[in-house]
């Protein structure tokens, strides 16, 4: 599953400078709003779904080299966080949908490794 397909299917808003999402393969996902759990539990290169929008989300995503972070329930991060994400080349997406909905969709699409 490419990030491009996910962005299109879930109608995600890209908050950072877009790159070639069709070249990014996504196999695994992780959902949590506790960043300590994400640091311990998320797989490298996976996608992370959270409603946490603090700038530390960017730091953790960069640390784990995640393919994308999907921030749910319209919890828009600050411009500083978005700038930091661009610097760190972290792909940040926003949706008004809930974490439950996003995870359900990803599962349906075949992203099932966790």
């Amino acid at each position: 599953m490419t990030l491009q397909e996910i962005v299109a299917e879930l109608n995600l808003m890209c908050l950072t400078n877009p790159c070639d999402f069709s070249a990014i393969e996504v196999k695994s996902g992780y959902a949590s709003d506790l960043l300590s759990c994400v640091m311990a539990g998320a797989r490298h290169h996976g996608v992370w779904i959270t409603l946490q929008s603090h700038s530390n989300v960017v730091a953790v995503a960069a640390l784990l080299e995640l393919s994308a972070v999907i921030i749910t329930e319209g919890a828009r991060p600050s411009q500083d966080a978005i700038d930091k994400a661009n610097e760190e080349r972290v792909n940040l997406f926003l949706t008004d949908k809930s974490t439950f909905w996003v995870v359900g969709k990803l599962w349906e699409m075949g992203v099932r490794d966790s």
Binding site: S36, Q52, S55, A59, V60
Partner: protein, 249 residues
């Protein structure tokens, strides 16, 4: 945990500086201050605010006026919900003798809509100290919720629970770097009141405390390990801020 008993217990345990930090609330601070009048105990007005990221942060001030200004800011950012005493316990406001004054109807256990940095900046601007609370806990903690200490936040120190040691916390969470650590009783009941933090200061004020926490200008802070008890279990956090008269040192 009524004000005269808090004061008596603190004094019995050799404590002469105590902060009252109820959850998103400050209505009981004045009563404890009054109960401590004429005694050797200084009461710092404070609060444990819950930020948007569900992080608990201690806010310490010198005066009730500063605390009142901070409370107004917190109230503006709390969701307007009524407490359900059946679910969350009573939220009593009492006087200095412990007599019932009123019930707080606003639900206090919720998160405010302020971010951690916004809240810390407000407290700092009011002349107070912002100290993220019990960072070694698995919930409501800076490290659990945000993983790292955000750069440039105006914290005076980080607080650890009485169930660990500074050395252990620094090993467990190397990401805290060289942030000063304070340890508190986080007392929700009388028997939990404990005073591990030993401060050398000119006066019991926030400005002096700020210096002591950095061990500068001849002030100092160190932690006694011999007064720490270990009877608490993760998950025993009482929901109601006032149910047992939450206060901490």
């Amino acid at each position: 945990m009524i004000p005269p008993l808090i004061v008596r217990t603190a004094l019995e345990r050799g404590i002469n500086l105590l902060a009252i930090t109820d959850h998103n609330a400050s209505a009981n601070v004045e009563a404890v201050s009054k109960a401590a009048r004429g005694s050797a105990l200084t009461v710092l007005p404070g609060m444990e605010v819950q930020t948007r990221e569900e992080i608990h942060m201690l806010c310490l001030f010198d005066t009730l006026e500063q605390l009142s200004a901070w409370q107004q800011q917190v109230d503006k950012h709390l969701p307007k919900m009524e407490n359900n005493p059946g679910l969350f316990g009573e939220q009593f406001v009492v006087d200095e003798t412990g007599e019932f004054i009123r019930r707080e109807t606003q639900l206090l256990l919720a998160s405010t809509r302020m971010t951690l940095e916004e809240a810390a900046a407000w407290v700092d601007a009011l002349g107070g100290l912002a100290i993220p609370a019990h960072i070694d806990r698995k919930a409501f903690s800076l490290i659990a919720n945000l993983g790292l200490v955000p750069e440039g936040a105006p914290f005076a120190a980080l607080e650890i629970t009485r169930h660990t040691t500074p050395a252990q916390v620094r090993r467990q969470f190397p990401q805290i770097g060289d942030w000063p650590l304070v340890q508190s009783g986080d007392a929700h009941r009388l028997d939990e009141i404990t005073g591990p933090l030993v401060l050398t200061m000119e006066a019991p004020t926030v400005a002096e405390l700020r210096l002591a926490l950095r061990n500068c200008a001849g002030r100092s802070a160190w932690l006694r390990q011999d007064v720490i008890s270990d009877e608490y279990q993760e998950g025993s956090f009482p929901f109601s801020p006032f149910q047992q008269g939450e206060s901490k040192r």
